[in-house]
Symmetry: C2
């Protein structure tokens, strides 16, 4: 009888473990970023810091005058500073990242957000330190030019997730500080 | 002893059922379309057949000259025929649907696809009969105008999923016929 009881206990424990393993796999899957487009090749270190994967979706031509592409930024990855003669629209399809216009505070960008950066304004964008970013970019009016690349974003400029970071008041009000998001 | 055996059998059966329920929930979740943007209000029946939910993301202005939005089409829903004075770019973020330029065969569009429709060309787009569609639209050069709406797409025009449908040769070659996809 004792052996039978032990056998039953082992069977039940195994099944509980199996069930929990299912739940754990499910959680890991939902934490991954959604991938819509091919990942593409790793972007050049002349243009990006860290692992960023740009993929062209629409090449510029004289009919639509519009360039469209996707960039997957791994956590910590970001573009160098750059500007667009006709501006740029970013559409965030998953993850959490940062966008900064020179001289302004870093903005948090996340799934569903749309960001406009005006013509000839220096900016950079990329993933947060802990969560990656999937972003579409749209460059309109390409007859005016596409992009002018500048210097890399230093670690000091990319400080928002620094362990010494204290949430600025504007984030506390909106609960959008990365300390709370990631 | 017999009662004990029955009790054990019941416990084990219940746990197997519980495990399978987990798996089944997981499957249902992954079959749902990914939602990136707010669903928005149901589109007017003057512009759409069935349940379509358009959401504006970027309004046209004189700097970017670009309109961007998302439409979620439930299965069977589609736009009316329409044209754009400066053309349109569609980016499919999830699901399966159709796009047709007047006088040409229906194209199957699905997650990751990019479609260009030239200026002043009559077209329609929407979901397949059995699977919904999430699509971004980009209208460039809005100074030339945005959209000219025309008549509804009839059931006869929306025939690709008709039970009498036979895969055309071009789909057989590429395995992209909706008979195989949906």
């Amino acid at each position: 009888m004792k052996i039978k009881k032990i056998t039953i206990a082992i069977i039940i424990s195994t099944m509980i473990l199996a069930c929990n393993q299912n739940k754990s796999t499910m959680k890991e899957t939902t934490q991954e970023l959604t991938t819509i487009f091919p990942k593409g090749e790793k972007g050049s270190s002349d243009l990006f810091t860290g692992n960023a994967y740009p993929t062209a979706l629409v090449d510029a031509d004289s009919i639509y005058n519009t360039l469209v592409g996707n960039v997957y930024f791994e956590p910590g990855a970001r573009s160098h500073w750059h500007s667009h003669p006709a501006g740029q629209i970013l559409i965030i399809t998953d993850g959490i990242g940062y966008h900064q216009i020179e001289g302004k505070p870093i903005e948090i960008i996340k799934k569903g957000d749309v960001v406009k950066c005006p013509p000839n304004v220096k900016h950079w964008h990329g993933a947060s330190a802990d969560v990656g970013l999937q972003q579409l970019y749209i460059i309109p009016n390409t007859e005016k030019g596409i992009v002018q690349w500048k210097e890399a974003v230093t670690e000091e400029q990319y400080v928002i997730n620094n362990s010494n970071h204290k949430c600025p008041k504007r984030f506390k009000r909106t609960n959008r500080c990365p300390c709370l998001l990631v």
